[in-house]
Subunit: 467 residues, 4 copies
């Protein structure tokens, strides 16, 4: 396949890969290629058809360097030294011994002195949201989130030889376990019941008696990948001769059809009550005498009639469902969850973040760079901004001012005046092509340039050439 | 018709009527008779078929005493003198002059000295919730609420000769305007648009230009009745030669099919997500690229497929709708809104409120009265208690400890143990018949008597004979 | 003595006394006479000099009718029947058996059926704030509060024969135990330590081992009085042959010099920091190195100097103390605590509450009554209104819109314009004399009448003759 | 003088100075030396005796490099590029033109592109709390805070040629204006009134008409220093030929004797009410009739007696003042305000932050380093921890886990058991000497080592040699 990005030369594999991906013109295509690399050699199409949300799968590679550069214990050590890692917030110290799961977090900052002491005494370490500390993880997740259309998260797990850090359990996310160092013994079990297939919430810790027989019992070595859907119970433990470091990349938390309906259905009912008098008509005078739990065993013909009326009104709701507006509500949640984009040097040079204005030798240089009608611009990423309407006003929501730290910033947006919505839509839909500012469908050249300046200053668009 | 309760002798008509109604054995039948009296001579059946929620109707009676005893300006004067009526809370002073609607409430207690001064200077007086001050209004509304299965409320309006107190507007309730004294000129107008038929919210004040031509232009005299559904615009003004006193009895606020669906639909979705994996399956990876407002004009075949899936899932919701549980949610709201029952002397003597235990001549008398297996009991009112389940626990909700003042008390309830639900259901369904405590389906005589004592002490049941 | 108000004829003694007191022109004098009756035959002057806040005292009267009419178990029974008495809010059911103190309050309304059952099974009943239910108790307390210049409260205690309802303890108020029916055995004990003399908080329940030997061991019979200051431990129990009913009248909760200083001292410091640069000068650079608990044992000469500077600044605070403003803060708290006045028929007829405006025979009568320059007015009570300044604005605070229920209403006040303060002060200081509205020191006749109307409408002043 | 640290060779002057200071053994001495450098050539002793809190002073140096390395516009540019500087939070864009003061902050992150555009159009830039971005500023302030015993803060001001960014005003802090680049024209004015000498709050913006004649009218050039106390009005503007960059170092906000009294006085009153019955005695029965604002003009002898009693009680308060406990309250506020210490390489190597435990070549190295009885330890800084008592429990409060961002972290502390207070006090008072863990006055060797480990892990102590 021509998508094969697997390069195994010197240096960090992943740096090379990311540099290659930076040359892919369209961020959605880039996401697709990175995902293909993640699950290589399974074709993505096959994966999503046969495996995704259906069953676990193991990829053995015999190539310990396949994921090299994504994360390492050495980088973890560096992070402890340089960054403000807080126990309980960014790092959990855990153990699972003789069927007992414990957390050992002290208060305050996690420094190597105490962390490695815990490790040496047999505790596992879970680094939460490593993307806040590792630029490579940030890069990878910020690309993958465009593949999933749903937040991509991660945790890193370091386990000492001969130990297990967590009890058997299932999660509420699709999990890609990427083995980075050493090896680990994994067992995966089917969901216990129909109700626990693709569950909405994670499980409590299970005992061996709860979980039946493993359907997968494998050893993950560096470079290998294990995927399992939400609801599949799993546990991993280390052999006495090797530690294990893996990163679990996750997505699709609360991203089901039901989660969308949670937005659609109340909105549909609101519309129906406004537009359709059938929903505003009074209930029968006497309905409380034959409906309700205390009357549910009654054999009263009025019950059937009442239930039928409810059913009809519920079915008719579909004709009032503002699906696109509800999708926008979900999209807004996603935009808030998104990691901000990581810029390539070229993107940096052509965006507000790398604009050449600077102080040098006692004076300001290059402060006058200006967008003109000839300037060619496009969105920084396919999905970095989205036009949503709440029925009355239109806002542009965007991810470029998000933080690497989950929800540290409020979701950013600004109102778009009616006369500018066409221009914004045109910009969004023309991606990945650059268009001249002069071609934007606005009323005046002043409008076009003002709008482009605003989008440029918020980091939403960049220019074809540096200003 | 034998239901005609219209008696016109000496004394207060309404006292006689209420005394007669007290002899009706079943509170639902009593409610039905009182409502029939209210709208006499229109048969209730005809009214609910042809008029209710459809159109205004006028009943002219040529009998100024028909509603006598319900309320009077003399009683209003007495209330001002004896009770703590607060401006802005219980009483509004208003005027509508030259198209301008004003409120003139000073702070603090409304005393005759200032109230009558306002009246003499041409202001209208609106007494809110007169049931808190007038026992007769309380009696009437507490009976009618069983007819409506929805809160029955009231306001009293006193208007000086030659004035108007309110601008044209429509309300969000079914209104029965009962003329008590003097006369008033009323104009009623059709809802302005389909969207304002049976509206969910009351309107702002309208100007004459907003409202078109009246469909009803009548004079209400003492003893007359005017009904109009929510959404019908109305205004009333006094002739120079007579003041007007009327009481507006209202019901069916937020009591529509849509209001029930507001309880049913979220519950249905919760059940569906628990029980049906179709709702838990992930959304398509790329749905954000073709759905949402910014894509709503796209001609993409995936849109139709997506919308169809949403429609199917919404339709399938009906099969998961816990309608009886949702009705119980509405029932609980209604029980909280209910006025407590007004007891007849016989009911008083046979209930906890009139139990003969007392202090007399330096000692306690009759404190030993006890319920036994032979004691015959029944609910105090058909609707004074209701058994509801929240899925896990069963509670009995009851109105007998409610206050005359709207929502002054929390909704009262207590948990019913599983082994007692049959006994409670049996008591509820056997109304209006009395049953012996010994016949309640409990495990032991002790249980039967304990349960009966509890219900008796909360005022939910009374005994066939005084204890 | 001519103050002896003790009349023992037919009818209720207290009604006669209150009728006599109503003829006393000055409410402060009336308070003084009522207090003298309470502690008769001890002269008030002697009492306050020798006993008040110093020691317990017993008055035996051999006159069971002395306090007759103040309250009775029969009235308590009537209150249970007619009023909404709530367990835990208005009534406590208690027992003290074998050294164990228990409370037995069920939820909801206290009806005779359950209350007398508790009593018959040996429980004591404490009615909290009987003034909300009994007009006589309201009258008495509303008069006494002017004697104390501090809230006068009350609780009623009904104890079955042969039982005790409460453990030994002390309270944070001056207590006047008025025996109304039956008899009770009381034991009073000295405060246990200097720190518990005139304590700020009530004690927990004590065991016999905690409290030493009683200094008073007496039997209270109807008509007797027992006084003890806050901090004196006490317990009372009934003989097997008689129940006991007493009312405890209390005052002086948080009314000490220290409570005043809590208002004075922060205000003094605020003034000092504004006006005196000595308070704004910086602390020594190094004070943290020799001051503070970790340095308190250091023998450093800088410590003495530092402490001396603090002492001087604290002493100098007295010269900045806004004592009158701080007294006003305390006064406002008291005015909020006050019971509203109980009006005599004459007061009613000459105040806004009894103004003759009324609805009669279909029209308003006497609505035109107007205050004129000749109208003679005075405060309704010496202490029913008070002029206070917060430094910038002047407000008149008043008690006439207070509720019988403690703090049910916010403290009432309105702003007094600078040009009206003299008139208000003149009205306050001329009490109990009536003055003509025309004599008030205002700028214009219109101002005088407007001000008088405002005060009349709020019930603060009444007129010499009915309007 | 031998303290002269003014070195003018190559490289950054300040780096050399800070390296020299790192060799000073005692952090208090180090603070003193750094302050002496700041105000050189004025001797600190002279400065604090004659100038501090009294008058402005100018130091002209003819040495543009004197403060070199503290901060520069180049560093500011780098910060904008690398750090998340937010408009309105970390950076203000201001102008003062034709007597009008304006703020121009847009929302979001401040990037060079927009910031330099503002600058070029004549706006001033104020970087708030540069210590969060500049390590050198953090170092300097963290040292100076030990000199002041009060928070040391800073703002940086960059002003374009020919402009002024702020209106005349005074501040509530002692200000050291350190000119870093270019030059600025400053005018300083006396406090306008006695009440504005050493004020508690900053002033609003003044107009020229408000402020009188300058007492100081000078030009500050790079290397110069201007000091003025709180309350002195000031304004600075740039000449057309040069920009200006200065940093204002500030201290002594809310650090006056009055601020201490705000802690002492309420505590003294609480103690007095507990210990002295004079404060618990009741107020006179009738005090409300002669005290208070409405009685303040009364010539009543009781007033003098009352005021005298208040005065005596206020004066006696001094004997109950828990001054050391109140100082601890202030100390806790200061510890919360403190910057965390900046460690030298030697300190790093001997403290938990630099402990050698690390991941290397696939395994943990040096995790076993352990404190023993022979280990010699001391506090990391004289003032980095403080033992305070709230009367019941003793806590150790410490600054080593504080953030560079003001109050981003809660004040950190842990409880010290009674048997460990002596050991902690001994450690605190032995600073700057190292003591062996074995010499700490604890009950057992285990206790000594456990306590030392705890203090070491929180970064409060370091060891004489690396572990």
């Amino acid at each position: 396949e021509q998508e094969d990005p697997c390069v195994n030369g010197d240096g960090e594999v992943l740096d090379t890969l990311l540099a290659d991906l930076a040359r892919v013109n369209n961020s959605r295509e880039r996401a697709s290629k990175l995902f293909q690399w993640l699950i290589h050699p399974i074709p993505a199409k096959t994966f999503f058809r046969d495996t995704w949300e259906k069953k676990p799968i193991l990829v053995k590679r015999q190539n310990p360097d396949y994921y090299k550069g994504l994360f390492s214990t050495a980088e973890f050590d560096r992070i402890l030294r340089q960054d403000d890692v807080q126990y309980g917030v960014n790092l959990d110290v855990t153990s699972y011994t003789n069927g007992k799961r414990e957390t050992h977090n002290p208060p305050g900052r996690a420094l190597p002195f105490t962390v490695w002491d815990f490790y040496e005494s047999g505790c596992s370490l879970r680094l939460l949201n490593p993307q806040a500390f590792s630029s490579t993880v940030w890069s990878v997740l910020s690309i993958l989130q465009e593949q999933f259309g749903s937040m991509a998260g991660a945790n890193v797990y370091l386990t000492p030889p001969g130990t297990q850090g967590f009890a058997p359990h299932y999660d509420d996310i699709e999990a890609f376990v990427v083995q980075l160092e050493g090896k680990k013994h994994w067992r995966v079990y089917n969901p216990r019941t129909e109700d626990e297939v693709l569950p909405v919430f994670s499980s409590p810790n299970f005992s061996e008696a709860d979980i039946g027989k493993a359907i997968l019992d494998v050893v993950l070595e560096a470079g290998d990948l294990l995927y399992f859907p939400r609801g599949f119970i799993h546990q991993g433990d280390c052999f006495p001769d090797a530690h294990s470091l893996h990163i679990t990349i996750s997505s699709y938390q609360k991203n089901s059809w039901g989660d969308l309906l949670l937005k659609v259905v109340p909105a549909a009912l609101e519309v129906a009550m406004e537009e359709d008098v059938d929903y505003r008509q009074g209930l029968p005078l006497d309905y409380l005498t034959y409906m309700g739990v205390q009357n549910s065993d009654k054999d009263d013909p009025r019950r059937a009639k009442f239930l039928s009326r409810v059913e009809n009104l519920m079915k008719k709701l579909t004709s009032y469902a503002p699906v696109d507006a509800a999708v926008d509500q979900k999209a807004r949640d996603f935009l808030h969850d998104c990691l901000p984009p990581v810029l390539t040097p070229e993107e940096l040079a052509s965006s507000v973040q790398g604009a050449p204005a600077r102080w040098e030798n006692g004076e300001v240089l290059n402060a006058g760079a200006r967008i003109s009608s000839q300037t060619r611009v496009r969105l920084l990423r396919a999905g970095c901004a989205r036009l949503c309407s709440d029925g009355e006003m239109v806002h542009l929501y965007y991810t470029t001012d998000n933080s690497r730290v989950y929800h540290k910033e409020e979701l950013k947006s600004f109102e778009i005046k009616t006369e500018h919505t066409d221009a914004i839509e045109s910009l969004i839909h023309s991606y990945p092509k650059f268009v001249t500012v002069g071609s934007l469908p606005c009323d005046s050249a002043e409008d076009r340039i003002g709008l482009a300046e605003l989008l440029f200053e918020r980091g939403i668009i960049h220019t074809a050439e540096p200003l």
